[in-house]
């Protein structure tokens, strides 16, 4: 009996309690968001604040689709994040394969060029890209949202590093079997690279879904808003209507959080791997 209360076990219990408290603090803003979104508009100005609304007031969620085309925002975000992710997977895995497994003149110089741009903050290219798209008359279009983000130097780098780590013998075996370069890419390299491809998918999709500054710049009309800029529009129009703003925020977070909670391991591994440059 006595041995259950060793200093060590007490220490562990203390660490557990502190960590649990910290986790609750981390979650509190989400709870507050959800709780506010279910309040009557007047209830937010009560003191002290209610943590659990009574009664639940679902009308905010209906109203939000009436004041702004929120369904359309969803669609725009899905199209943008989906297209960018698919295009990056294709173009970056192509380029990564070329850089990692094929020899051709100028390869290393070109790769150095890719590497050099990795350090450049995105804000540097935003202005010329905006001017280019404006000249093309592409403001307020899907191509403006998608194309500038579809060819990532980082994604190429990530996949090249991963492809380099695959054994070359497999390739030779495939060559003997009469496989061409595309065959090797398709039947040998890609199937062995699922972890890296998943990482890039998660990272790119998440980055695009949450991207704010780029759609803010190239989108003017409400109908072309992605969810993030849509929320900004909502904020501009209903500045102090917290119940509505929180309902909008919940709607914007819902798909990401649902996806994250159902595929947590993939997400965390993806971010860890990508965050560490594929190591």
């Amino acid at each position: 009996m006595v041995s259950r209360f060793t200093p060590q076990s007490i220490g562990r219990a203390a660490v557990f309690v502190v960590t649990a408290a910290a986790s609750l603090i981390m979650l509190l803003p989400f709870f507050w968001m959800l709780s506010t979104s279910l309040k009557e508009p007047g209830a937010v100005f009560r003191f002290p604040p209610e943590w659990i609304p009574k009664p639940f007031y679902w009308y905010n969620y209906k109203r939000i689709f009436e004041v702004l085309p929120f369904g359309r925002f969803y669609w725009n975000s899905i199209v943008t994040a989906g297209s960018v992710t698919i295009l990056q997977l294709v173009t970056c895995s192509f380029a990564g394969y070329a850089f990692a497994r094929l020899r051709f003149p100028g390869r290393d110089t070109l790769f150095l060029g890719y590497l050099a741009t990795l350090m450049i903050p995105g804000q540097v290219v935003i202005i010329p890209n905006f001017i280019l798209l404006r000249t093309l008359g592409w403001i307020d279009t899907y191509q403006a949202l998608i194309l500038p983000n579809a060819f990532s130097a980082f994604g190429t780098f990530l996949l090249r590093q991963f492809f380099l780590s695959l054994p070359f013998e497999l390739e030779d075996a495939a060559k003997i079997d009469g496989c061409g370069y595309f065959g090797i890419y398709w039947y040998v390299i890609l199937p062995l690279s699922k972890p890296a491809l998943t990482s890039l998918t998660v990272f790119t999709w998440l980055g695009q879904w949450n991207n704010f500054i780029w759609p803010l710049i190239v989108i003017n009309s409400v109908r072309m808003n992605t969810l993030t800029v849509g929320l900004r529009t909502l904020q501009g129009q209903y500045n102090t209507q917290w119940t509505l703003l929180m309902a909008g925020s919940v709607l914007a977070l819902l798909p990401v959080l649902a996806l994250f909670l159902s595929a947590q391991r993939t997400f965390i591994r993806g971010v860890a791997l990508t965050g560490m440059g594929g190591r």
Partner: protein
């Protein structure tokens, strides 16, 4: 080896070799075209643009170094913005790293509920900064926000006005940034911790080392490459703070939360000073570049790759 290669003229590429070269260019081309159009050329264009004045309507004008001179000598907002951002980086980077490391150390112990804790700390990372900024704006609300009502209950008679106070608005943004940034670093630290071989700890314990000793003599040195990596990326991302400032305060009050990237955004897309904004962007790039170089230069004093 090298001499032997030199003494023969380079052989004409064989048919097989030529196929490989063509395949290389073929696979590279789609990405390369996009990379040139949307990354490499814009970087150079931004540099050229920074020596001009252009409002997108009147003809573009070459002004030499004038934008840079104005930036450093005649833009009080820029000085303010630079100070805010530096202060923001100096506070949030250490906090985001130390707290993330603490959490990672705890989660690495396999406590009961580790899965839940990890989810809780990681949820803000996947959440859109805009939605997060909105709810925090509401949390920081001076009269009806939950934060001040808790402070009142704890007996703070005069809690800060947070986002409308020139003194507290920037710290409020820092709190949100730390809250949102811990989880990402935590995951990377956890991966680093799991890479430390268990035998090291066992050997140390046999020699009678305490947990505290193990932490300083094994964990920290073994983790130093990870720590270095986290330091570099956290610094870079901290310098680019933007979303929070736009949504929570619009840079206010009185520029108290205005940041470098927000200043770029305003100059380019609200005042249409394309050349000037490009100059600020290049300035930011140079600052980040120099800081990263310094970090790489001094890493050998504390980063151990060879243990």
């Amino acid at each position: 080896m090298a001499r032997a290669e030199q003494s023969y003229p380079p052989p004409r590429p064989s048919a097989v070799r030529r196929r490989e070269i063509w395949a290389g260019y073929g696979f590279l081309t789609p990405n390369l075209i996009g990379f040139l159009i949307f990354t490499l050329l814009p970087v150079l264009a931004a540099l050229a643009l920074s020596f001009t004045e252009w409002d997108l309507i009147r003809p573009i004008q070459w002004v030499g170094l004038r934008n840079y001179i104005r930036l450093l000598t005649n833009d009080p907002t820029f000085i303010k913005v630079l100070r805010n951002t530096t202060f923001f980086v100096l506070v949030t980077v250490p906090l985001r790293m130390v707290l993330a490391l603490l959490v990672a150390l705890v989660l690495n112990q396999n406590l009961r509920g580790t899965m839940f804790f990890r989810t809780a700390f990681f949820m803000p990372v996947v959440s859109s900064a805009v939605a997060v900024a909105l709810v925090w704006q509401w949390i920081f609300h001076a009269d009806f926000g939950p934060l001040n009502s808790i402070l009142w209950m704890l007996g703070v008679s005069n809690p800060p006005n947070w986002l409308t106070s020139t003194k507290w608005a920037l710290p409020a943004l820092m709190i949100v940034s730390v809250w949102q940034g811990i989880g990402f670093n935590m995951v990377i630290f956890l991966a680093g911790l799991q890479g430390i071989p268990e035998q090291l700890y066992e050997a140390a314990r046999i020699d009678g080392a305490t947990g505290w000793h193990c932490f300083w003599k094994i964990t920290l040195p073994m983790l130093s490459p990870t720590t270095f990596f986290v330091l570099v990326i956290t610094t870079i991302s901290s310098f680019q703070v933007f979303d929070l400032a736009v949504i929570m305060t619009e840079g206010g009050p009185a520029n108290a939360t205005n940041t470098i990237v927000y200043h770029i955004y305003r100059n380019a897309f609200q005042f249409f000073r394309m050349g000037y904004a490009a100059a600020i962007a290049w300035f930011l790039f140079v600052v980040i570049f120099i800081l990263t170089l310094i970090q790489f230069r001094y890493q050998k004093n504390w980063v151990h790759y060879d243990l």
